[in-house]
Every structure is written in structure tokens, then in C-alpha cells.
């Protein structure tokens, strides 16, 4: 690499990350397959997508990297419109379009 990190080091990172990430993804699916999960675990797992993905993007909405972490009205409004249209129409593509139009419209105007 340009900072002097050797090719071997980069490949070491790639291979270890590849194996580690696979094992994370395979963990429960690969090992728990035949056993019944307890009901309370199943109940929590039902909420995995609606908890993990919003928590993943919330900091990016409030403190966007593109503005150096400064909260910014266009991005907040775009996120709010995306969620509102998604809730209202239950249609992912409409929600994406509405969010994109809001973002670009506001960035253009502001």
C-alpha cells in the first residue's frame, strides 16, 4: 500500500476478515438448525430487522459524514419523508423515490 503496509499484511486482513465474517453469518444458522429455539428467543428475533437496520442508519441521519457530522435539515427531512411514505403506502420503491426527491429538492433549494 502507499503508506508502506505490505501486500502480505493486506491479504492477511482480507483472509482473516473473510473467514471471521463468514463464521459470524453462519453462527446460528449453521449450528442451531435442528434444535427448537425457546419461544422468548423467537419472539425477540421477530424484531431483528426493525431494530437493527434503523439503529444502523439513525446516527447517519442525525450526524451525516458528508456534512462533517453537522445535523442537516435536508437529510433529516428526506429520512422522515421516506419513513412516512413507507408507512403510509407500504411500498418500498415509492418510499425511496419520495426520499430521494425530498433530499435533492431541498439540497437544491437550501
Amino acid at each position: 500500500m502507499s503508506n508502506g503496509t505490505s501486500d502480505l499484511t493486506v491479504w492477511l486482513v482480507i483472509v482473516v476478515l473473510g473467514i471471521g465474517t463468514f463464521l459470524i453469518r453462519w453462527s446460528f444458522l449453521g449450528t442451531l438448525g435442528d434444535r427448537e429455539l425457546p419461544p422468548w428467543v423467537l419472539r425477540m428475533l421477530r424484531y431483528t430487522p426493525v431494530a437493527v437496520l434503523p439503529a444502523l442508519v439513525a446516527p447517519l441521519v442525525v450526524w451525516p459524514a458528508a456534512t462533517g457530522g453537522q445535523p442537516e435539515p435536508a437529510r433529516m427531512a428526506a429520512a422522515a419523508v421516506t419513513v412516512a411514505i413507507g408507512l403510509w403506502t407500504r411500498n418500498m420503491i415509492l418510499a425511496i423515490l419520495a426520499g430521494a426527491i425530498t433530499l435533492f429538492g431541498l439540497l437544491y433549494m437550501l
Binding site: M1, S2, N3, T5, D7, T9, V10, V13, I14, V15, L17, G18, G20, T21, F22, I24, R25, W26, S27, F28, L29, G30, L32, G33, L37, R43, M44, L45, R46, Y47, T48, P49, V50, A51, V52, L53, P54, A55, L56, V57, A58, P59, L60, V61, V62, P64, R75, A78, A79, T82, V83, I85, G86, L87, N91, M92, A95, I96, G99, L103
Partner: protein, 251 residues
């Protein structure tokens, strides 16, 4: 044993099953909007990695062997900052740990798949393939296992293959995307658009609200850690509201 007495379904037969082809196509079509995000991000990864001094083989190595966008960007960033190798690896694995929750949440839907099939699903389990598939499984709970896997396969073809191809393109062509198109926000918008239609009940809303609140409060923690605390809190909140509203409905 002769091939004809083999009880397993022939793979060509399986592909000819109209239900499977349909499920595969459905997964592929539903994923198409993600290309708008996936292609520029993949090119960006190729460009950023190239600028950091990696070669094309290493860029492809990341996108094929690791296949996890956020952690790939984190790795390149940390390697450029001369972070110790162990720090690079642990930080990136922390960024990917959320996928263990995806893995657990797929168990009820894919438990009867063969170990080989599970390994392939695990390999291609990214945010988009997880979110689109679980959305489909929940909306059509009577879908058979082969159809579920075919749907997942269709999503992976549209979501994961372009990630590999276009990170190679970025590393080969090496031209940056203009900064002024606010690409940073494509990912949040598509993720929010995926999730909003899934917020069907007060329990789902509670899970989402608590997880978001937690992730904002814990945003100062090292990369990925806040998410790993906030997400289970949200999931527990969803489960608690489900139990509570179930009891109220019976009372």
C-alpha cells in the same frame, strides 16, 4: 448406487420447477432498486482502495471473500491510518457482528436447509439480502423451503454480484464519482424504505423506536458497539410490547 436411484431432486429438474424460477425472479426483481445504491458504492470502494494503494486483486479479494460493504470501507480506512492489524480485524468484525442477529433470525425459516445450502446463505448474508428475504418470508409464511432459498438466490444475484463486479470496475477505471450527488445518503434512504413497510404493529414500532434511541445515545462508543447494545434492547422492547398487547387482547 446408480444415479437414477438417487432420491435427491436433480438440480436441472429443480431449476425447471416453475415455482422456483418464479421465486428466484421475484427476488431478483425486488432487489433491482438497490442497484442504484450498490453500483456507485461498489465503484467508490474500488476507487478508495486503489487510492489507498491496494491492487486490483486485493480489491476483488475484499469484495469476494469479505463481501460486506461497511467493514470493507472500515478496513481500507484503518489500513491507510496505519492501525495495527489486530485493530483493523477486530474493528471490522465488530462492524459485522450484527449479522449474527440476522443469522439467528433466519433459523426458523431456513432450519431444514442442507448444511451446504446454509453455508451459501451465510456467505451471501448482507443487510439487503437479509432484509428483503425476511420481509418476503414474513409476508408469505406458507412459502416452501426451496422457494425461500430461490428467492434469496435471486436477491443475491442482483445485490452481491454487482458489488464484486463494480468494485473491480472502480479499481480498474479508478475514477471517483462526483461528490455533489449526496451519495452518502442513498444507503440510509434505501434501508429506511425497506423497514418502514415492516412496521405493522405497536410491537414493531416499539422495537424500532427503542433501537434508534439507543443507537443515538450510544453513538459515541467505538464502531459497531452501540449498535450491538441498542439492537437487542429494541428487540426486547418489541417482544415485551407483543406479550403485553397479547395479554390485553385476551383480557
Amino acid at each position: 448406487m446408480s444415479p437414477t436411484s438417487d432420491p435427491r431432486p436433480d438440480s436441472r429438474q429443480a431449476l425447471a420447477d416453475p415455482g422456483l424460477a418464479q421465486a428466484f425472479r421475484r427476488g431478483a426483481v425486488k432487489s433491482l432498486p438497490f442497484l442504484i445504491v450498490m453500483i456507485p458504492f461498489a465503484i467508490l470502494f474500488g476507487v478508495v482502495a486503489l487510492e489507498a494503494g491496494m491492487d486490483v486483486a486485493q480489491v476483488l479479494g475484499f469484495s469476494v471473500l469479505v463481501l460486506a460493504g461497511a467493514s470493507q470501507f472500515t478496513a481500507v480506512q484503518l489500513l491507510s491510518d496505519n492501525a495495527p492489524v489486530i485493530v483493523v480485524i477486530l474493528s471490522c468484525l465488530a462492524v459485522n457482528l450484527r449479522m449474527a442477529m440476522y443469522s439467528a433470525s433466519l433459523v426458523p425459516w431456513l432450519r431444514d436447509a442442507t448444511p451446504g445450502q446454509k453455508a451459501w446463505v451465510a456467505y451471501a448474508l448482507v443487510d439487503q439480502s437479509y432484509a428483503l428475504s425476511i420481509q418476503e418470508y414474513e409476508a408469505n409464511p406458507r412459502m416452501a423451503l426451496p422457494q425461500r432459498l430461490a428467492f434469496f438466490g435471486g436477491v443475491v444475484m442482483v445485490v452481491c454480484l454487482p458489488w464484486m463486479i463494480f468494485s473491480w470496475v472502480g479499481a480498474t477505471v479508478g475514477r471517483a464519482i462526483p461528490d455533489d450527488i449526496a451519495l452518502d445518503f442513498a444507503m440510509p434512504i434505501t434501508f429506511l424504505a425497506m423497514i418502514a413497510p415492516m412496521l405493522r404493529t405497536p410491537a414493531h414500532l416499539a422495537a424500532c423506536f427503542v433501537a434508534v434511541l439507543g443507537s443515538l445515545v450510544l453513538a459515541g462508543l467505538p464502531s459497531g458497539l452501540g449498535l450491538l447494545i441498542a439492537s437487542p434492547l429494541g428487540m426486547a422492547a418489541g417482544a415485551a410490547v407483543e406479550v403485553w398487547s397479547g395479554r390485553r387482547a385476551r383480557a
